[in-house]
Subunit: 420 residues, 2 copies
């Protein structure tokens, strides 16, 4: 992939998100307004929204989820940006990451000094089985879906292949979920912001209250291994391996580097971006790596002039727990086939040497698909600015990376941000 | 709207399209391959597709029309661009125009030297009434659609308001359609490439063959005024006022200005682009103009440093005949309320002083919605390069403009190209 120097630098000066969750009665425009308001409040020196020159909105399918197409100008209208140009960017679950990249290019081009990048998805109006079918349209509807696959199945196939190829044990997937719930418990925006231990104790209490036999789980792993507590969705992926169905929105403000300090003394600089496409999974040489993720990462590192070891904060696309392990290898943090060992050894925990998904990840925080790639940036924003509260990483982190995947890797976008 | 100078210039060096029409058994990927192949053949000095660095694909809703989301990487794969970044751009029926603008920004940013911009839509797999419902999702599903509107109704309301405000007669709409069929009859890519006179004669011949009474139409206007021949869709919009339901694809190649002459001695320069958003129609102060079109045109003219009178070739978004008349005013070619007189006087005919839609427009050429904005550029490409055959405008036209509308004007994109 060719990497070139942009015409000018771009900075991130504001970021906000709605809570992720299931919100009957709220549609994506309501959620986007919430994200926008938090973004606005986050701009240290204040923002006049009339200065925003364009909107790039990541959204997978308001068409199928809300029966609403042409969603970009509606979002612009609801946050008061009309008549600014508004464009929807779609790359399935990587729509948010791709929208960020479009915002980067738009400011770098010289056309705009300030753009809003948003992400939205309202998924919970449909029944669960229809959500799964709707998400399946992000695979190849000609060659893959007629064969009976949906996304839990695709990632289950990857997990099975990974276990076979590298000898990873079943337990390692459970440990990714356990870690991400530990992190998400410290994130008030998380949809499932409970530790597995809390969920386990609540189940016991509920059984006791109903006069049912009290489950004998002693540890969180006992709970996660229990096939009645943690049902199989598509073997070896179980309930706590799968990110949830979510509603949510996120918004960030990008400006040209020259004007960044008008808005804050602590801007982040958007120094790297890589994107790659790939054939659908059925037509790929490997199940244990995403070639698009490797290429996107390589482009982003080259553009930023940094190496994997330089990155301090990492949000990866853990739509399923296996995806986090593969991501940690594709991004160059661990060698192929060794990502699972890092999980076993606690390296990717918040207290480890290579913390991953301190926000809780998609697993705990939630996965409103078009919003997820923008939502990831919120964690980078908070961690690099020292505003991550109880989950703040020590050592004044300086470099953050987001990894956002569409489908099974037909798209991956990697973005890198720096505090200077 | 702010207009700024781009980091560097961008040129158009190749353009191709599929035939527009109804193609059972072809999906959007098949049509995009056809457009890509014609684009490739159009590059005078040849093109190695491996040099293409990214794909921006305009598409309204493969989700709803083909049950296929995440369509951008599939399109990239089918024309051999994998693993290049591929992004879908959506702004309803302005998706193609918006994709062009993204391509412009992407090259101007310095990230890429060469990008492919495509447009696709495959609409005819659904029954007609479901197509109308699907298109209706481009309006506001909360406030407008529950009131009973679909797009023929929206544009009928505009036509009625226009007649009331400016005294335009009913016949003027028919004359727009008549003109566009005259033009489309010279375009071998047109879905309905027949003159109204040919359609009329064919109907007479068919009646004679069946032994039915032969209709007494003497002129094309007799035919168009006959409510049995030209049925009312939503008064005053009749069948020949409405663009058809279409399948089709288009593709153009954008490169940085510095390398344009490696590909052709006759590049076009992409010198102006404007885009604006608007509230949905129910929440707008006027029915007889699109504020977003006026703003987009103003931005594009300012960026290009040209005036309406300088433009030689114009493709406007005639999704309905009233839309062409309003467009001709919003673009500054005629004063408000006087566009209809220009039609009456033949000014907008191919032989007139201000020819509009020499390609046949959406009415005759067809309207595969996500492809239309890119398809419009094909006409500019041919006219400015003197390759428009029988419909070639005289006088070696130098400046071409496309006007591409999403919904009822929640989005308008105006692009301007120059031959130097």
């Amino acid at each position: 992939m060719t990497t070139r120097k942009l015409g000018r630098g771009v900075a991130l000066v504001g970021a906000g998100m709605s809570k992720f969750g299931s919100f009957p009665g709220k549609n994506s425009r309501d959620l986007f307004v919430e994200a926008f308001q938090e973004m606005r409040a986050s701009v240290d020196k204040g923002l006049d929204p009339r200065d925003i020159e364009a909107l790039f909105i990541g959204n997978y399918s308001s068409d199928l989820f809300e029966n609403q197409g042409h969603t970009a100008p509606i979002m612009a209208d609801w946050v008061g940006l009309t008549p600014r140009p508004a464009v929807r960017i779609e790359d399935a679950c990587a729509s948010g990451g791709a929208a960020l990249r479009q915002g980067l290019l738009a400011v770098a081009s010289g056309m705009y000094d300030m753009v809003l990048v948003g992400g939205i998805e309202k998924m919970t109006d449909l029944p669960t089985e229809r959500v799964t079918d709707t998400l399946a349209t992000a695979a190849d509807m000609v060659y893959e879906i007629p064969a009976g696959f949906t996304f839990p199945g695709f990632y289950a196939a990857m997990a099975t292949a990974y276990m076979a190829q590298y000898g990873a044990p079943l337990d390692v997937f459970l440990k990714v979920g356990l870690k991400n719930h530990d992190n998400g418990a410290l994130n008030d925006k998380a949809q499932f912001g409970q530790r597995i231990s809390s969920i386990m104790e609540a189940r016991k209490a509920s059984a006791a209250k109903k006069g049912n036999p009290i489950p004998t789980w002693e540890t969180e792993m006992d709970f996660l291994r229990d096939p009645r507590a943690n049902i199989t969705i598509a073997w070896p992926m179980r309930l706590y391996d799968c990110s949830p169905i979510s509603d949510g929105a996120a918004a960030v403000l990008l400006v040209s580097e020259e004007i960044a300090r008008k808005f804050t003394d602590a801007p982040l600089y958007y120094i790297g971006s890589g994107q790659a496409s790939d054939a659908a999974l059925h037509d790929r040489p490997t199940l244990t790596s995403l070639p698009s993720a490797k290429l996107a990462a390589q482009s982003a590192y080259e553009m930023a002039g940094v190496k994997p070891a330089d990155i301090d904060v990492v949000e990866v696309h853990d739509c399923f727990t296996i995806a986090e392990i593969i991501a940690s290898e594709d991004l160059g943090f661990f060698k192929s086939g060794e990502g699972w060992k890092a999980v076993e050894e606690g390296v990717t925990a918040r207290s480890g040497k290579r913390p991953i998904n301190t926000s809780g990840g998609l697993k705990s925080k939630g996965h409103p698909v078009g919003a997820s790639g923008v939502g990831q940036v919120l964690e980078i924003w908070k961690q690099l600015r020292g505003q991550a509260g109880e989950r703040q990483l020590p050592g004044a982190p300086r470099l953050g990376l987001t990894h956002n995947v569409g489908g099974t890797g037909q798209t991956t976008v990697v973005n890198i941000f720096e505090r200077r």
